[in-house]
Amino acid sequence: MVPISDQTMAAIEYAMDALNTRAEVTANNVANSEVPGFKASRVSFEDQLRRALAGDRVERIQDPDIAGTGAPGDAIGNNVSLENEVVEMMQTNLLQQAMVEAFNFKAGMLRSAIGRTS
């Protein structure tokens, strides 16, 4: 394996991609929060990532799961909870930023390894 794109880098890349999908799905839930019959969805990728990291095969990890929340619907058959979506959105935003920091940290380590100081 090329040392520059190791397991950590691959995991960060995968997580950022999955978080991007999660942000889109959350945006879609909010956009449809008043549409009759619409059902909210959630993206889950943490379990896949954990399993992949344990098995040392991050490159072959499957795409994140998108599944309905299964929450009961309201009078118009819509089950979007705006509070949950806001929390989801904030968490996704923070995780995404943490991933950027992690990536930059790792890149900084590689830079020092090849003898550059910044």
Binding site: A23, V25, T26, N28, V30, V35, M89, N93
Partner: protein
């Protein structure tokens, strides 16, 4: 789907909320639109919205499909002095339920605000992504 999809998705939601607010404003503006009982009454406008799916069945926003007229029963009132009254002295009141319009307005406004919040938060996320490697 492009690079900043979450923002486009939220914009589609804000568009639908905006259209809904317009329909509500139109309905409330016509709360006193009385017509002759021989004519079709003013009917509240309802926005029919639905989810937009891409080829893989993944949601990519909301859109307004059509504007519908409320099909509630109109109220015909006896008002012989009204110049609009028909030969028997009847006029028809507009089919607008004010309490429904007011509660819808709250929902539409919240939905609009929430979509703008989604745009704002995701803009922050994309800004963070631009710091990769810096």
């Amino acid at each position: 789907m492009g690079a900043f999809d979450a923002i486009d998705i939220a914009r589609s939601g804000a568009d639908v909320s905006q259209l809904w607010l317009q329909a509500i404003a139109h309905n409330i503006a016509n709360i006193n639109t009385v017509r002759s009982a021989d004519e079709e009454p003013f009917r509240a406008k309802l926005v029919h919205a639905e989810e937009v799916l891409d080829g893989d069945g993944v949601g990519e926003g909301a859109r307004a499909v059509e504007i519908l007229d409320s099909d509630a029963d109109p109220m015909v009132v006896f008002d012989p002095d009204n110049p609009l009254a028909n030969e028997d002295g009847y006029v028809v009141r507009p089919v607008v339920d004010l309490s429904k319009e007011m509660t819808d307005m709250i929902a539409a406004q919240r939905s609009y605000q929430m979509n703008l919040q989604v745009i704002k938060t995701n803009e922050e996320t994309y800004q963070a992504a631009l710091r990769i490697g810096q």
